[in-house]
């Protein structure tokens, strides 16, 4: 029987490619507390989480991240389960106790519970839920829980998982059915994954509607007014307008993860299309990408690792879609013929394409969307510019833009300040510029 330490070593290592970056929660005291009296519960997820440690690659290590078990019925080609000879599982009590110990040491903020599929998805999920129930009701833990749903799990268990977690995710792994069957042939893409993601959305919405209805019955209570006010404010800010619905449960929504570069011909464009679908159809909060790293002893053990830069470009493009609200077709313009993102910041590529046909941006006249097109101007600085303009302020110098947080070294080539714009080497390679030069030479200037 392996010791708890041995389990943490093996199951922790097996889960290291699972990505989770957030412990922030939008839960507040204003919401009905699902896990008993908030004044008595341990763990505070009202404010953004704090990272208590960082791994040697600089990644924040703020969650207790291990698998629940590494015994698996699936044979995914990229997965450690082929190579790992030590098969073991936590017991719910052991898992909960270990986490509480770490939490009491102030080294973790919350839980990220994932697992291989032992026996059946339902059987493993039952056990994982038992561990979370112990945390919530025995140890009184009210903090952050990220629950990883197993492919093919039943709807009634998803309901339970939703009611106990802050965030839920189902790993999509690949962008299409064909790519998934290439790397994990036993998994049914539509039934095991996509259907579960759709269920998560439906359960969450239904549950929230019911919860809000219950709240309306408590009209005397001031809580309702405050909550409604907050939802209204958030919506008017445009903050995650279409994804955040003031949810009393699963307040961090659902996420997903892709293995980048494991399927042979899968392109960045395929992945971006899938994410876009996720944002529109299943209220996906965000997507994570994990560059494929070959594990010795697996069928893909000899395959070349995917470059980390590819992962980085995908995150940048995802950011443009999610935070800047750029459309997928905007990004399509910069995707190479092979369907991958080019080297370098996608926003700069997009700006080069865009400004071939459009004039330089004048910060005194441009709309919010136009300002966002400029590299070096993000949503915050764009909002500041608009706010200052509303107060009759005119931007006459580059320094004025710097003062509101614009990164001038990136923005300079695309902005027009006081009638002037910067000329860069790029302008000299521009076809229009060359044509002008040729004309000027032929005219003998």
């Amino acid at each position: 029987m392996p010791s708890t330490l041995e389990k943490i070593r093996v199951l922790g290592e097996n889960s290291k490619y699972d990505i989770c970056a957030s412990t922030a929660s939008s839960r507040t005291e204003k919401y009905p507390n699902l896990f008993g009296d908030p004044k008595k519960s341990i763990g505070n997820t009202v404010s953004a989480g704090i990272c208590h440690s960082y791994t040697p690659d600089g990644r924040c290590m703020s969650l207790f991240k291990t698998l629940y078990t590494n015994k698996c019925i699936y044979n995914c080609k990229y997965c450690f389960s082929h190579s790992c000879k030590h098969k073991m599982s936590f017991s719910p009590e052991e898992y909960a106790r270990t986490f509480m110990k770490l939490y009491s040491m102030n080294v973790v903020e919350g839980v990220f519970i994932s697992s291989a599929v032992c026996g059946s998805a339902d059987q493993t999920t039952e056990e994982m839920l038992e561990a979370i129930r112990l945390l919530r009701y025995k140890y009184n833990f009210g903090g952050y829980v990220h629950f990883k749903c197993l492919p093919g799990v039943s709807e009634y268990l998803l309901k339970d998982a939703i009611s106990l977690s802050d965030r839920i995710s189902v790993n999509t792994e690949a962008s299409t059915k064909d790519y998934l069957s290439e790397i994990a042939e036993q998994k049914d893409y539509y039934n095991d994954i996509i259907t579960r993601q759709r269920w998560l959305k439906q359960i969450r919405i239904r549950h929230n509607e019911e919860a809000l209805k219950t709240l309306k019955d408590l009209k005397k209570d001031n809580q309702l007014k405050e909550q409604e006010k907050m939802i209204k404010e958030r919506r008017s800010d445009g903050y995650k307008k279409f994804r955040w619905d003031g949810a009393p449960i699963l307040n961090c929504g659902q996420t997903t993860q892709f293995v980048v570069g494991a399927a042979e011909h899968e392109t960045d464009w395929d992945l971006l299309k899938r994410i876009d679908w996720g944002y529109r159809k299943i209220d996906l909060r965000r997507a994570y990408f994990s560059s494929f790293i070959p594990i010795e002893g697996t069928p893909l053990g000899n395959k070349q690792a995917a470059p980390l830069e590819r992962e980085h470009r995908l995150y940048q493009s995802d950011w443009l879609m999610r935070i800047y609200h750029f459309k997928l077709k905007d990004i399509e313009g910069v995707v190479t013929e092979e369907g991958n993102l080019p080297q370098g910041d996608p926003k700069i590529h997009m700006a080069r394409e865009y400004f071939k046909q459009h004039r330089h941006v004048n910060p005194n006249e441009a709309s919010y969307q136009e300002l966002l097109r400029v590299p070096g101007i993000g949503p915050i600085s764009a909002k500041r510019i608009i706010n200052l303009r509303a107060q009759k302020f005119a931007f006459k110098r580059r320094q004025d833009l710097r003062a509101v947080g614009v990164v001038l070294k990136r923005a300079d080539p695309y902005i027009l300040i006081d009638g002037h714009s910067q000329t860069t080497l790029h302008n000299f390679s521009n076809e229009d510029y060359k044509e002008t030069q040729i004309k000027e030479i032929s005219l003998g200037r």
């Binding site: 290291k16 270990t98 110990k101 690792a305 980390l308 004025d400 003062a403 947080g405």
Partner: protein
Amino acid sequence: MTKIKDPLEVIGRSKGYSHEELLKNLHRHSSYSPAIKRQIITIPEAILRNSGTQMAKKINRMMREIFTEAYRAKQFTRTEINNRGVLLGVVSLKHNVIDLVLIYFHERWPECVICLYNEQTRDTWVIDEKGAIREFHQSLGEVVEKISIDRRKVPYFEDIQFSGEEIFETLYKSQFITERENKQYFKKMIPDQCYELPGMKNGVEKHFRNKKLNDFL
């Protein structure tokens, strides 16, 4: 005639701190003096926010030092809990931010009494379940003992009375992906001075900080 500073140079509105924030927090700094307070009132907010003068620069630096110290304490203070629900730990705070750190732990453990010993002042600070903060000129052990006597044993705190250092060390090591190693970024996230903090002096992170001779061979 002296040149009047262009007001537009200090236009950014979201940077820095407001007068209220400064007056509320600057007294926490170890080198704060009432003279600074008098100066704050005379400097326009736009200049303060944008470090427009040497004095404004100094004030902003002081504020940054205050909040960084509080944040680092929240991040890297390692605590333990006894079976009577008393959470204890050691901090090293130069500035007067102990209340911020205590409140942070109080929100996480609302049913517990939090005791933090400040190495710099050699005092023990306590926050109780109701959020009342007290100072004791005694060692941490003495204060914890005194508080624990009157408290009942809590079953679920008794459950976790075992050593956790090895557990954390194992978890930490298990998460490391060699292919992603990025020492520069790692050092940025945990800068040198953090290893001076009481919770990090013997932290497992320290072993990964620099390459060992074997790594080069």
